[in-house]
Symmetry: C2
Subunit: 496 residues, 2 copies
């Protein structure tokens, strides 16, 4: 892929990261309220970035205006939501254990809080030019935690990235903070990203994209002299279990709902439902027929760029070429360059189980309908799954009772369990988990949507035996920021 | 190293792990209260394990009875403390965001909690036969999180490990839980451990020991088809900054305090202070002379086993052979096998900075006294340090003002900052952080002492759109376990 801009040179990288390191203490020294104010300003500036930005991104990504307008609004909301969480300070995870001279040996005063992990390397994501790119969730999380950001622009929307980077820098300057806290670099291939992940100044990595891309970063990070954590969200097939009683009750509605979810955003979401698993029978047949009909009416949509469009056609063809795989439904054919036609394929559980190639994501509007002969087949399919961002159950109360043994299996496979809904649509809230067991993400203990994502970029530091006046504000007896703290094992937001 | 028992064979490993997997749901299904009861029972049984166990461990480890009696009491306390934390359930990190149909798009009900990560592989530590071995902090953390444990016994105290494993199994059986939830395996070399870390049933690893051992596990875990997290605590040199005003006020007391800390437990603690950094001057000279005198009076002590005793002599000789390193003080000479004599060496900051070999831990009663010509030297030494478990400052209020720029440097290097105290003595409490930036540990975001260690062995799972009656108890509206939960961004322990 080529970028609109030349690749950052090693000299440019070295200088930018040196300036960033020099600026880092200024961000770390801000109070939670100051950091939240900065984040609110970036949200405001982004909100005011106007239609010119949308036009530019439309040109670069082929995403429709309404989607981009919505994504920008989501991004603005995300900054404000994380700013509120930053100020609330739960993510500091303050623990205070006061001294006990009567204990043997005497117990010292110990107070622990999270501190910034250090500069974070963030990669722009092709499919979210706003929400998971330059001023996306990873950047917002890092700033909330007090970490400078090195942003590797996605080459497919490099001009958008430049424009958004200017907004972030404007926000920093408005609050008297050095613009060098946000480094923005271009790279068309993998060289710049690899150089950055290996740079000793970088202490953590945020990435949303392909398995190959995320895994390469994970390996490079682990092989550094000082290994660093990589939070790569690498997508998944998001299996959906269509349980018999639900299908018998609701076959048409479920089919309509899923036809929409499969083709939403031309299937370019990491939560796109790629596997639909049902048990053979009349309801399954009605569902499959209705799904086919609904998909047949879906217009082709333009994919993000030529590389993604080509990969979709190639991976779809590979899936369709596997033994026992039958083309089940096609959406309207593409009329213009980059346009992809939605596709549903059908396969038996037995053929699915024997061909691991079918277990991997086909990024785009493609889903595989798996027909199980009996319940045991469905359980076997569930057991065979790799780690997923989401698993969904379409089920009545009767189904949940009959198929109770399915729940522990799918629970062990994913980060989010959806009941009677679709996995697309990832709400920005604290109770969201966007991440899951490998290979859905490289670290199942964290997620990249919702304010708990801030915790990826900090680490605990304990203070032993420090007089109150030398402690950070968050740990002081008077609790000047009114934080919720665990004090000798009890939660409160009071002074000591 | 040879073990009292034959190495586990591949067949034994495969069978034990299969039985463990079959038993796992029984543990995951326990309530927090049931798990806490189990942990209290294990604590009670361990407390009642009698003097015979102490005798056995004395034979195997050459640790004195008082130390072992104290360590067992600490281990019993640890089980009870983690049991209380397990029952309190903060570690579940419950977040609830209720539905909002009025939002565009409508916001679904989302509820998130931590679930067990899966079976945990724990390695017994040579220097803590009770507190960080078979029924140590990692095992207690894993059980609290609902994870089965595969325990690789340390060959240096394999019989102790067998006896303690019997206690753990007895506890499980007392509560009607399968003994197979705790797998106990022997291995004299690295083969059994390597086979276990690569086994697909294992989902996380806890380790306390050498850098070489921890790094080998970390690499093996990252190279698996499904990488898993490794929590390896690999020790450090625990630098101590002796600031001038403090030394001028207190030189003798500080020297006495540190002579005791350096030689505590024959220096076999990962928090042993291995670097003492001061600025040349009269107070430094008095401190150094007093330290030399105090060390001279310390009797030699038996080290844990021949391998550790040999490594101590070798690493100490290597350190003493570096350019500019001067032998400064020796403790009383060893009289018997395994006995090590305490040693202090002296070096200039310039020579220290130029020789990275001096930056690594010499496990045992050895410390390096670094004499800085000026303040800048001390800052340079601080900057040059690798990641540490602890950094300590011996400082008056005046020192903290004069050397204010030292604080951000040392803060970025360690997991625990001690003021006017010694790093040895790791209190078991929630505000403790025992871990630190690499290479002190492989994951600076977690620690291995204190109940927050439970969180190493779980991961978040979000439930979207589930009716109350199908949710886990922790997420239900009625809050049956009276957990502290973040509900729509507000902390409370009430029903919804």
């Amino acid at each position: 892929m080529t970028s609109h801009f030349p690749d950052a040179t090693p000299k440019e990288i070295a200088e930018a990261l040196q300036q960033m390191q020099a600026a880092a203490p200024a961000l770390a020294a801000t109070t939670l309220a100051q950091r939240a104010d900065l984040m609110y300003s970036i949200a405001d500036l982004l909100e005011q970035s106007g239609d010119a930005l949308l036009q530019l991104t439309m040109e670069e990504t082929h995403l429709p205006e309404a989607r981009l307008r919505g994504e920008r609004a989501r991004t603005v909301f995300q900054w404000r939501n994380y700013a509120d969480a930053c100020r609330r300070g739960d993510w500091l995870e303050v623990r205070i254990d006061t001294a006990d001279a009567g204990k043997t040996p005497p117990k010292p005063d110990l107070r622990k809080m999270n501190v910034p992990i250090g500069p974070v390397l963030v990669f722009g994501a092709s499919n979210f030019p706003y929400a998971y790119s330059t001023a996306g969730g990873d950047t917002a999380s890092a700033f909330a935690a007090g970490c400078p950001v090195v942003l590797k622009a996605h080459p497919a929307h490099a001009r958008t990235s430049e424009a958004v980077a200017a907004v972030v820098r404007q926000g920093l300057q408005k609050h008297g903070l050095p613009a060098e806290l946000f480094v923005h670099l271009h790279g068309s291939g993998t060289e710049v990203g690899q150089a950055l992940v290996k740079h000793p100044a970088i202490k953590a990595v945020g990435f949303t994209g392909s398995f190959a891309g995320g895994k390469a970063l994970f390996d490079a990070a682990n092989q550094r002299p000082e290994p660093i954590p990589v939070f790569a969200e690498m997508g998944s097939v998001n299996p959906v279990f269509l349980l018999p009683d639900k299908l018998a009750t609701d076959d048409t509605a479920v089919a309509q709902q899923y036809a929409a979810s499969i083709t939403l955003g031309v299937g370019q979401f990491c939560t796109n439902p790629g596997l639909l698993i049902g048990i053979a029978g009349e309801a399954f047949d009605v569902f499959a027929a209705t799904l086919s009909e609904a998909i047949g009416q879906v217009a082709a949509g333009a994919m993000l760029h030529q590389g993604i469009a080509d990969a979709f056609e190639k991976n779809k063809a590979q899936a369709l070429a596997q033994r026992g795989v039958q083309l089940w439904a096609n959406g309207q054919p593409g009329q213009r360059e980059l346009q992809a036609s939605a596709t549903i394929a059908l396969v038996s559980a037995a053929d699915f189980l024997q061909q691991p190639a079918l277990h991997h994501e086909v990024f785009g509007p493609f889903s595989l309908l798996i027909k199980c002969e009996e319940t045991a087949d469905m359980y076997a399919v569930a057991q065979a799954l790799e780690g997923q961002l989401t698993c969904s159950l379409m089920a009545t109360a009767a189904d949940l009772e009959t198929y109770a043994d399915l729940l522990p299996i799918v629970s062990s496979k994913c980060g989010r369990l959806v009941l009677n809904g679709v996995p697309t649509g990832v709400e920005v809230c604290q109770a969201m988990q966007h991440g899951g067991p490998y290979p859905a993400s490289t670290d199942s203990r964290f997620g990249s949507v919702g304010a708990d994502a801030i915790r990826r970029f900090c680490r605990p530091l304990a203070y032993q035996n420090w007089p109150d006046e030398y402690l950070p504000a968050a740990l002081q007896n008077s609790n000047p920021w009114q934080l919720w703290r665990s004090v000798n094992g009890t939660w409160n937001n009071e002074p000591l």
